[in-house]
């Protein structure tokens, strides 16, 4: 067979193109959002609403905190340096330090505000985690995989809400009654609120919402048409440090 250099090169190039066509086509035609649309969490944006008018935290009610910490085996270590917090309360000024309006109504200023992980839409803790031990699920829950956490505490540094706690010691001796339904943690891992994902998968509401007798806590999917959406689209509400761009998903009704 007689073939000159020029036609050989042309044929070789055509051959290469033919071989590369299929993978290239697959790459281009793959719908990029396809993965996000599958799975059990698809199409949801879970969020929580805390109604500060209804909440009785200022009167000493700690039902939600007690329920949360009991269900999740959160230890009570007894000193603030090592304390583990999933759900707790702080003064209004500490919760919303960015609210620099000249006058805030006296009862509001004196109120205690329930705070927890905000399950941000743009979570800074997830970005810094070197092992992907924390990640955002498609329904918006910022999850922790304790198996994978190496205790570097980058996430604690990144979280602007102080929502994460580190286990400096074995928590088990500091848990009153260990609930068999949920594991404890161990020394050297970071933990935080998980929006009760283990209860949600059983069709239950989060423990704090269930324990609240004043109806101050509401939880659910945040999409137009839902109760939660109507609530926050019709009333003035705040999110903690929203100016940081983390897009927190715990909404406070004033």
């Amino acid at each position: 067979m007689n073939i000159d250099r020029r036609s050989f090169l042309k044929l070789a190039a055509l051959g290469l193109l033919a071989v590369a066509a299929k993978p290239a086509f697959d790459l281009i035609s793959r719908p990029s959002a396809a993965r996000a649309l599958e799975g059990p969490f698809a199409g949801k944006r879970l969020a929580m609403v805390v109604d500060l008018n209804a909440c009785t935290a200022g009167d000493g009610c700690v039902d939600c905190i007690a329920a949360c910490h009991s269900v999740h085996n959160v230890p009570d270590i007894g000193n603030t340096k090592e304390e583990i917090k999933w759900l707790w309360e702080v003064d209004y000024k500490r919760a919303f330090p960015d609210q620099e309006n000249g006058f805030v109504s006296e009862p509001l200023l004196d109120s205690r505000v329930l705070v927890l992980c905000n399950h941000c839409d743009n979570p800074p803790c997830v970005k810094v985690c070197p092992t992907q031990a924390t990640w955002k699920r498609e329904d918006g829950i910022v999850m922790m995989d304790y198996h994978r956490c190496i205790g570097c505490r980058y996430c604690m540094a990144a979280c602007p809400y102080g929502s994460r706690s580190f286990n400096w010691r074995d928590p088990r001796p500091y848990i009153d009654i260990i609930q068999q339904g949920y594991p404890t943690r161990t020394r050297g891992v970071v933990e935080k609120c998980n929006f009760c994902e283990e209860r949600l998968s059983d069709g239950l509401q989060p423990a704090c919402v269930e324990a609240c007798s004043s109806g101050a806590l509401k939880f659910g999917d945040l999409k137009p048409g839902t109760e939660l959406y109507d609530l926050i689209s019709s009333q003035f509400n705040l999110r903690r440090k929203a100016e940081l761009g983390t897009r927190p998903q715990v909404y406070y009704l004033l």
């Binding site: 699920r137 404890t184 020394r187 998968s201």
Partner: protein, 133 residues
């Protein structure tokens, strides 16, 4: 060769000492010791076949871990289409009620120290195997 006797004698002593664990175990009858974990009497079939569980329970548990935690899917479908809730404390230990007589026996024998129980709970009773009626 100088000091032939000392060298060969020394080597013989060394070999005796180095192989001591082997022949001592063989002589004392401990060499054929097997850990013999206590199996539940209430059930006779695990999530998968016993042979598979013996060989691959660690891989299966890692698969359970990833499926439940990372994918949020806590239902395991076994190879013969039975479904199980993925839960170490609730499912595995429901039948294997005594961790010390089941898990620990083989793990101690093989010198492995899995850290599952640092977080996962062992039911406090640690009751002896239930007797079927």
């Amino acid at each position: 060769m100088y000091d032939k006797g000392k060298i060969i004698g020394g080597l013989a002593v060394f070999l005796c000492l180095a192989s001591f664990p082997v022949w001592y175990m063989a002589a004392s009858g401990k060499a054929d010791y097997s850990p013999d974990p206590v199996l539940p009497v209430s059930e006779n079939l695990c999530v998968e076949s016993a042979q598979y569980m013996k060989e691959y329970h660690m891989q299966l548990m890692q698969q359970w871990r990833d499926q439940a935690v990372r994918q949020g899917d806590s239902i395991y479908v076994s190879s013969d289409n039975r479904t199980f809730d993925i839960n170490l404390t609730g499912t595995c230990l429901k039948c294997h009620t005594n961790k010390a007589d089941f898990c620990d026996r083989c793990h101690n024998y093989t010198g492995t120290a899995p850290n599952c129980w640092d977080c996962h709970n062992v039911p406090p009773a640690n009751a002896p195997p239930q007797v079927t009626k």
